[in-house]
Symmetry: D3
């Protein structure tokens, strides 16, 4: 995708390329004719754009469009006068990560990793429940982030978080092989699925607010209910259902963090731990990356501490007095 | 080691074999002659024993002796009349795990795993500090447990806990390769070393009480001090020293659990979690093993919850209604 | 029901009447013949009983039987030799409150009060959901207590608690008439229904332990799921469903008491308050009733305080100095 | 009261009516002559006003005056030039609720309800104490609010809160008739009386700060002391005095909310709950009224949660799929 | 006082001396004649005693009596057969500290110290209030302990605690001379006076339970009320009264320890600390005195820690390696 | 030191005197010539200053310089044009308290008080450890404050706090003479020494941030380590070392305030108390001094309360009604 960055645009320059729609409204000008007023963005910035064609329909915020036009300066600010506009199509093969923060792998790649794990489950009831749940949430999984802000706040961040946890779960199982792998993998895959019900995200993975169900019930309790519905529809009852429901309910570890039950069997405990570790490594890694070596961050409220970026490059040289 | 279990002994039976000394005192009989009164144990039980030889010296509690003699019944209880007694020697090649709970690997095997990790450190200052610390605590590491009761309360349990954590640390590093492996491994190896100063253990890994230094300072703060001493003696200053000290100090995670500082860089955070996971898997695994499938434990105070042993064997059969 | 109390029985006395089965086993005597060994109870005590008829089948603990026989003394303790035995039938019209603590009204009377409230709901979706839920739990509602110990620990205590709360809810609505009465009444009726899944009670309302689902999920989260299932089966979606689920989930008020969400609309807040008030009046009233005027109880752990029985009878007389 | 709202005033308009004095100072103009500078308000807004008569004395903030004059524009803002000014008198029969938030009933109506309850007390000592207390706080009760901000922050809000609680107490007594009604009603009437000592309110029920006694002792402890003084003066001792004092002291329920003793008898417990319910219904009702159906509020700090205004109007229509 | 210790008594021994009455009842023997059955104590032990004189009246528990008689053995236990018995009188000049734990100084000596401080107050209102309060509680001050168990649980322990605090307050004032000494001394003298209303103590300073007023109100709130009454009776109002009341109310420092207000001026803050220090030095000193050097106590619940008795005697000798 | 205050400077005025350097940079003007741009301060304010001499080197922030020059107005703000500039020398005998907040005594006077106490220690090991520690931190002790903000935030504030605590400790020892004075004095002198490692202060006692060691380890744990190092170098082992280390570690009293161990012997408890009292008297005294009599402060966050300045001057006058 070879197009100029918004932050580099100058006036009187031609532009053709893909941009993310932040807002778009049809308005009526002083002369009574209609036009589109949009704010368009890539990862480097945002620009106001006008389409003076009275028939143009405003695209949905959160979608990507292709535009062609030229820049001008109006009231001291750069503006893009758009001549042609259309929605993005699959064959455009757009690299979304140039437009917004994205998971490092594509949704298809990550879904394939998940499906491979599920296909290998020894327990048929667990496999069928998990497959049914994935089927039900399939579309939203493509783009939902894992959280509004704290960690994996990026397009497809939920899949990113889930596949990261699967990797950790896999290696943990190699150390504690007596754990039941079907339970643990299933718990990882299901645990945050109902964040897609809890939050309202646009197709770029940007969350504006929580949903009614999210605020009144939360993704843990919604998740318990959804597992029940899937099991009911599949005609599955008994141990697998209640174990998966308990893992869903207990994965935040403590009542004060939203789990009315603490993990009561080892796989549920490990699920809580793997979730916390993956979220925290993402959060800490992101925060440390912004610091210079030897420097402390300001206090980070979600972690209740300052962070330190060690002078890693000085560790290997001898430092004798 | 082919010897009868104490729980199977009958009266008027010959016995020759190795037993653990729980207590041993020289006493004076009604006729003025001296004798040894001992309580001897294996993993299956405990028996009172007498040595009527007035010259026999009482062995140290916590050591292993070889005895030969015969059983008799006295006041309705079984007693062992010992004819010959000597201390255990290396060439006896006694399997201590028949006498007391022991780590599943030998101290030498576990030390070899640790030393292999240390030898591969890229950072010379960290490697030298860790090697110096291991050298200083070497002897006690052979037999110290990791805790008085909660987890790895067994002979060489500290090495068991440490090598278990090294395995987990290794696989975590494969998932988050941007972490500094020298720091994490060093943190794992050092983090509980001063439990050997904090608690008083006999040679079988049984802790009777905490030491004065343990009660007044604790193994975290003792550990910070010992790292400083080792670094001073080696002439090492700067970043590696203070990072290892912080990992030592913060590995309990929260002030209320004994860490005045929370982990402030990712390797310290991971150390805390690896420690918690290994301890908890040991504790939960042990508790679950005592339950029947489908049954809940009583409330376990250290975990503040009841545990459940799932009916794992029922997970793989289809359970459709 | 005109039968002697167990506490008044003397030896060599005839007995005919109804008793509660605490335990019953078929055993084999020294001569090889089978007999029944039972412990039978009324509210005043418990007596051991034998049926020497080898064909008699042991009745279920928690049921009521009619027995005829005579007392004798064996090894210094009173025993009942049973000659005839049969299960209680409806036409016996037994007054169970003489055998075990019971709610002051019959289940039928209490169910009628509940059904009358439901029939008057203005909201058809809420009425249908509540009726469906009552239908599903109907049988257990007859005898379940409201709790294992703290409050309304009696046969049909759950109905007792529910109808008590309905009365309070009704009068509260007269003070705050802008509250939605359908929501509040529905919340009252549904809020503890899943205690019948959470606990295992016998037919006399005695709870021996919590169930697997109760320990792993709890009656609040089970309740949210059951409302969803009922609504799904009835084809009802939207506002009524999620409001009832939130009231179910939030009725303990705080995360530390099991509600991951605090009440977020006034009817949910009032439900929490009415639940607490009715439970507490039952608990305090019971405790105070055991005290003499002017005396303090020992510390009551569930209330974290001592209680005082005021000298109410002295309040109305003038006490001028 | 037929006068224009301040928010509707235009320039060069006549005005005659009653306004609330927010501030009033005598100043000296550039020419040395004195004038009054005032800020006057009704419920719709505030306007600056001048009285150019050098003899006019500034009225007290918090009082109501009648003014006559005309508007003009000065420096782009509307100003009221006052020609005549006098204090409000009873015969003006001003509707204060047009000037400031007021309780929905008049102080006299509410006092009558309270006095009727007291007159019916069966306990003479309790009745005499309550009457004496009401007599001592009579004047301030006319206009004090129940709190500075959270709930019933309005003129006569304290009487509003008290009479609301009396209604709730009355209906609660119908459900739990074994409670002592004299104690409960007396507790309700007395419980916040010393808010009139704790806060400094002007005659319109606006609180600017807490008093010295309020900050150093609080209205609960002041209340205990005032009950003692009243009882001493009436020559009443014993049970009624200490029970009323305990209800006063414990009505906030927990030490962290200001009650060093938790309620130790049922009437004290009910008082705590009735207080909380009435305050919360007022606070929640006010907050919900500002929301549109289906919308959540921002987080409300005093309640530690967001509130939701349910779509009540959608509950009664069937919503089948 | 030259009399044998109870722990040294042998059978068939004469005894004449003073003993403390623990219990005393008039009973009727098998032959119908009345006698006294008593348990009598000194600090070394307790002995059963009989008075076979049917006219003897039982003395009050908590008082001291003089007895003459002889010991005998009955059913294997020592018994005292009392021939003469009378109550203690002042001229006996009994050393009570041989009978029960007592403060190291006499009540009169301690009251003299307190009165000397009060007489030197510069503030007349404070002096008059304190003198009035001392006058009202005078008699009970002679023997009340400072607490039921934790600290100064001894006869006249309240005076002991008060005079100890006066000494500390005096030296603190020498370091921070800007503090108002009248306020601080008055706070010290008044702060626990109402423990004499809160607890029921016998004349030997042994507390059996808390009083009704103590449980329902507590000594802090009782204290505030009593200061008000004293001030009312003396016609004193204003600053001195409310400051003393605040010091009384805040002297436990935090709501969770019974003070709804934290200390808000420096003298109140110092009062809290002086109280805590004197209580803690008494408690710690007593506990340490029971330990050998180098040894730790068990966990002491009121302090939430184990205590250590240092090897003080080893501190002064050089300990070079 | 007779020089004008900065707050009194007018334009076109001569100035000669000593000022504190807040910042100083060499810059290049429009014409390419170099000059110094400085901000200089005394206790009354701050002024911008220029040195147009291109060779002048910028002095260190936190140092004191002597300047001569004249004021002018530039862009409406006062500026100091400096003609001569040099660093302060000892013979200048500058009164630093006119430039920045300083302890009321000089460092030398305070060090003399400390040294006198140490010289009188009966325990040689304790004396040698304390002297060695003082020697190591000697230079920084001259000017370090005791805290960045809360208390004794002034030049030499650490010595001020230490000597204040020594006075309190001395008088406390007179009340509880059984305490070991060497331990208590040593604890006082050592307890905050490592604040000089924890914070980065300039020579005027102004702290800009915490140091790396301070943030990663804290002054308590650094202190334990430094005592160990000093003892190692002096060849001292055993009781004195571990007792001093425990006092260092426990002086904040509770885990949540940074002490993983609570004080376990009386001298450690008293140290904690003396530290808190001296800090709080400094903080409260400073806050009260800013208030008028009878007025409350805003809420002070470090104390979690509002403070009150009592009307002390009204206490001594009789206030009868």
């Amino acid at each position: 995708m070879n197009q100029p960055n918004i932050c580099d645009l100058q006036k009187d320059q031609r532009f053709e390329g893909f941009l993310l729609v932040r807002s778009a409204d049809q308005r009526t000008g002083g002369n009574g004719s209609k036009y589109l007023d949009m704010n368009l963005a890539d990862r480097t910035g945002e620009v106001n754009a006008k389409v003076w064609d009275g028939n143009a329909q405003p695209p949905m915020p959160g979608t990507v469009i292709k535009v062609r036009g030229g820049t001008l300066e109006y009231n001291g600010r750069l503006q893009l006068r758009v001549e042609r506009i259309r929605g993005m199509v699959d064959s455009d093969d757009v690299d979304l990560s140039l437009l917004t923060p994205c998971a490092p792998e594509t949704p298809d790649e990550m879904m394939a990793q998940i499906n491979a794990k599920v296909a290998a489950f020894k327990s048929e009831p667990i496999r069928r429940i998990v497959q049914e749940m994935l089927r039900r949430f399939d579309e939203r999984l493509q783009y939902y982030p894992a959280a509004q802000r704290i960690h994996h706040a990026e397009r497809s961040g939920l899949l990113h978080h889930t596949t990261g946890m699967l990797k950790t779960a896999e290696v943990i199982l190699s150390v504690y092989p007596w754990l039941n792998s079907d339970l643990l993998y299933a718990g990882v895959i299901l645990h945050d699925l109902c964040k897609t019900e809890e939050m309202d995200s646009d197709a770029m993975g940007v969350v504006r607010d929580y949903s009614k169900e999210g605020l009144l019930l939360g993704h843990l309790v919604l998740g318990v209910t959804r597992i029940q519905e899937a099991a009911n529809d599949l005609g599955i009852t008994g141990e697998p259902v209640v174990l998966l429901q308990h893992m869903m309910l207990s994965h935040h570890g403590e009542p004060e963090f939203g789990s009315p039950r603490k993990p009561m069997f080892p796989e549920a405990e490990v699920l809580h731990w793997v979730d916390l570790l993956d979220a925290r490594m993402n959060e800490m890694g992101t925060a440390i990356a912004k610091l210079k070596p030897g420097v402390f961050s300001e206090k980070i409220w979600s972690l209740d501490r300052r962070l330190y970026r060690a002078e890693y490059e000085n560790l290997e040289t001898s430092q004798e007095g």
